[in-house]
Amino acid sequence: MNAFKLHSFPGIRPIAVLIFSFLYIPIIVLVLLSFNQGELTTVWQGLGLNGYIEIWQDPYIIQAAKNSFIVALIATLVATPSATLAALALWQRQSDDRSIIASLIGLPLLIPGIVVAVATLMLFSFIGLKLSLFTVIIAHSTFCIPFAYFPIKTRLSKIHFNLVDAATDLYANSWQAFWHITWPQLLPGIIAGALLSFITSMDDFIITYFVSGPGSATLPVYIFGAIKRGISPKINAVSTLILGISILFVTVSYFTGRQAQR
């Protein structure tokens, strides 16, 4: 075809290598140092699990981990069904009020996190609700809805109405058509949405920081406080564990998505 290699641009490979190293060097350093024996965080003193052992002896970390998990689980269990129902409701042939409701669902993504945080804090202060794990759960359930909604909506948009119509023609009632046609095809989208909302909830710092009361700190809030006090082998270990969980989730959701495509 052509004399020179068309689809290559000198200079982009080094930049890509630079960016991938930039993305991974901090992570690799963190993981390596979490297995450092001894109290010093940056000087290598041999392989050890001290940091991990210390985690089990720290009731605050255990409590924060429990809180994070409870909040993310309940927020996911609230947000995913709400988002699924909303997606199904908006899965219609053209209708009028769609765009207003669709933009309402996208609203938490539009408003800066810090603004959502202060607004939520003011809401609880206005209605006189004391800050606790409950207020954190309410806040998370709200902002997780769009994160659950968009993957479900995308999946739903790929399902053809013709199939549902065909089922109805073959004397399925609307429930049978839903359970046998729509639901199995929608499920991967729901799983992806649920995973996304779980990670989003586990990851949130700023909103939780504003609306968590005493004893309701989540892992990000705990890490924030710990960072302010200085770094320690224990925090290396906690961070590595959280990192591991995130990677596990991304991989699972990636393979769920791929299986759905087949």
């Binding site: 988002a83 202060v118 607004a119 990192l243």
Partner: protein, 302 residues
């Protein structure tokens, strides 16, 4: 089941939508109304909100300060905080674009299997907890940290670098946190390009840089615009990254808002600042939407 079938389609939709709508109205729309009201409310001496006592004090405080004679003097301090945030957001967007575009192009030019692997590699840090990623950077940036040790080992530098708690550290953190938001949308538009167009351009005598400038870049423009939006808009209100890596030296909008709710205990001012930030965010989004409409038009012309 029978009751459900007897309902009109509109009624069914309303029922299906109600949980999500209730949460969003109660958890976002109503709180935003409270912010609006607080921003125009007066406070009592201890900082409590006096509901129903309206005042524009918070917005006036943004532009003016009172001197001892109670005269109002034009005050640029808060404007500077906003300008600083704006500058940082622009720099971050530019940095992400300059480094993200070549990376996205590199990924798009790989064989399909490797492309997928590289995409997962880009998205993993983006999914990992932000606090954890920032913590990893502290380990590298702080005095006696990874970067310093590395440079000492290379005998390049002997003294302390003092990287931590500077705007350089904030910039590194922002670039790290937001570069996937640039790479992924640009890759998405590059992936759709019909590379035969590039071949055709080259057959007609274009060299690869001309093809990059006149074929690839215009076709990738939707991705570039959405990437810039995804980086610019959240960077404006960012709180955690400057707080952790930048120390308290340079105040950003997000940190200024947080201050009003903690030490300053001035909720109306915090609410007013939130609204100004929200306005700026919406403006940024509208501008990007305007740009993408214009590029859309451009395609129609071509």
């Amino acid at each position: 089941m029978n009751i459900w079938s007897s309902l009109t389609i509109n009624r069914r939709r309303q029922i299906l939508l109600s949980p999500a709508i209730l949460f969003l109205l109660g958890g976002i729309v109503f709180p935003m109304l409270i912010v609006a009201i607080v921003s125009i409310s007066r406070t009592a001496d201890y900082g409590d909100i006096l509901w129903g006592k309206l005042s524009a004090n918070a917005y006036i405080q943004f532009l003016f300060e009172q001197d001892l004679d109670e005269r109002k003097i034009f005050n640029l301090d808060y404007i500077f905080v906003f300008l600083r945030s704006l500058k940082l957001a622009l720099l971050t967007t530019f940095g992400c674009l300059i480094l993200g575009f070549p990376t996205a192009l590199f990924i798009a030019l790989q064989p399909v299997r490797r492309r997928n692997t590289l995409l997962i590699l880009v998205s993993i840090p983006f999914w990992a907890n932000l606090l954890v990623r920032l913590y990893a950077w502290i380990i590298l940036l702080r005095d006696g940290g990874g970067i310093e040790q590395f440079l000492h080992w290379l005998h390049l530098k002997k003294d302390e670098l003092g990287l931590m708690y500077t705007s350089t550290a904030t910039a590194i953190g922002l670039l790290y946190a937001f570069i996937p938001f640039m790479i992924l949308p640009i890759y998405a538009s590059l992936e759709k390009i019909d590379w035969r167009l590039v071949d055709a351009a080259c057959d007609l005598g274009a060299n690869r840089w001309q093809a990059l400038r006149r074929i690839i870049t215009p076709l990738a423009l939707p991705g570039i615009i959405s990437g810039c939006t995804l980086v610019f808009v959240p960077t404006l209100g960012v709180y955690v990254i400057p707080d952790i890596l930048g120390g308290s030296k340079s105040l950003m909008i997000g940190n200024l808002i947080h201050l009003q709710y903690t030490s300053a205990h001035n909720w109306p001012f915090g609410a007013a600042l939130s609204f100004v930030l929200l306005g700026l965010t919406l403006l940024g989004m509208l501008m990007c939407r305007f740009c993408s409409k214009r590029t859309g038009k451009m395609y129609e012309c071509v």
